[in-house]
């Protein structure tokens, strides 16, 4: 599964680094490192929608506060 997180400055300021760190920890804690590939992406211009996260091509808007529930629903839930 390819998960892409925007690392452009707008998303950076909205907390993309916190989301990335939490995702890395969640992926490790759930033992799914060989199933989930975490990638950074240059700004795609969707800055108003908060931190842009793409899971297998579908775009989502994620905030640092809801990273865990997002991870459980859209990543764990799809594996």
């Amino acid at each position: 599964m390819k998960v892409t997180i925007c690392i452009g400055s707008a998303c950076h300021l909205k907390g993309s680094r916190e989301i990335i760190k939490e995702m890395q920890e969640l992926v490790a804690a759930n033992g799914i490192k060989d199933k989930v590939d975490l990638n950074g992406a240059f700004c795609s211009g969707n800055c108003v929608n908060g931190v842009c996260v793409t899971v297998d091509g579908t775009l989502y808007s994620v905030q640092p506060e809801n990273t865990k529930s997002f991870f459980e629903k859209e990543i764990l839930g799809r594996l």
């Binding site: 690392i7 300021l13 995702m23 890395q24 590939d37 990638n39 992406a41 240059f42 700004c43």
Partner: protein, 483 residues
Amino acid sequence: MVTNDATILKMKHDVLCEVAKLAWAGELEEKREELPYKMIPGPQAQFRCCIYKEREIIKQRVRLAEGQCPVGKDSLNVVQVINAACEECPIASYVVTDNCRKCMGKACQNSCNFGAISMDDTRAHIDPNKCKECGKCAQACPYSAIAHLERPCKKVCPVDAITYDENGICVIDEKKCIQCGACIHSCPFGAIGTKTFMVDVIRLINAGKRVVAMVAPATEGQFGPEITMASWKTALKKIGFADMVEVGLGGDMTAAAEAEEWAEAYKEGKKMTTSCCPAFVNMIKQHFPMLLDNMSTTVSPMCGVSRLLKQQDPETTTVFIGPCIAKKSETLDLNIQDNADYAMTFGEIRAMMRAKGVELEPEENTYQESSVFGKRFGNGGGVTAAVVQCFEEMGEDIKPNVMKCNGAAECKKALLLMKVGKLPADFVEGMACVGGCVGGPSKHKTEMEAKKARDILIGSADKRNVHENLKKVGADKVHMHRQ
């Protein structure tokens, strides 16, 4: 330095600089559309068929400078084709030139195994549909009348990632591209470029974030003997970076960790490769995935320094600066924790400086955070030399047989040998650029041009050893593996 795109370099740099100026002033949103008109005022075209094409190319270059694809496609590739700038170089590979005398011997025709050569009124003719591009006719012609035309971008690509679309416009096969950047300066029309993080870095500095620069080991000597690491530190602080650290320190960190890993592998009889060159790592991942287990798990010098800085202050944003394009792709691999947030080239950072009226100025070298072994990491053979030094410091009596691959073609050859179990060495040092990082695609001077200045600068560094240096700066406690 003369590259194929030498006369276009100024134009490329001017675009970066104009974008940087607007980004520093916070005016990019309102004024980005004006840039093509400002830079190509017309009414006469200077380089291309018309000013409209020239403006479209500027527009695409601006998008790249902002980190976006030149045209609105969805692609994660760092290296991108500026399709408006691609001049559709001739694809017919072997062509008969004016040198042809339509001689009686017909060596060309007789040497062709595919019946591709016929005679027209004045000279030989090669039927492109029959030609298999074997080159025998060109070798056979006594007048050297048959030329081998290959697109310059395609010629330098080490992984055969460049193809063309139905209109003859260059297309990068992103599954194959290892982001080495060799094609960028090979294009005489400047039609290949990379996405940049320049605007992101400017915005974060403007937003008051603590942004720290990490300058590549290949930097020393690139700008003459008087531009020292201290010069870089001063200039970077002037434009708003909180601090600067030389990544030679990361070279020491990587060498120490790699030495432990190699020592273990050596005793087990397992063959291993280095993992510090991101284009080499991409080559293994994309073209030799069966060898992933043989790739060292040690992180790159860039990642080592980034982890150290984030350990000291988790709020730090780290930005790598060097001659490398593939480093940008390394920052996009988020499976590695706490790596550099962004990577930039010398050209991009200098555009950022120029936009603020800051230049690199001569300064006495008062700054050293790396051993000379870490500083030499950016030279071909430098990684091996640093690891061997670490063996000595550790009291290990190991004399490893290392295949030092100088450039992507040699890397590919070594990996092929390793794949079939015929590698005659214990280890592979993979450097995708000829000469090592100092030969990187975004270098300012060639390895030979910079050598004298580099030797002077590194020669004036003190002779501390690797482990001693790591203890001194507290870098011996950083986790240096991917997982």
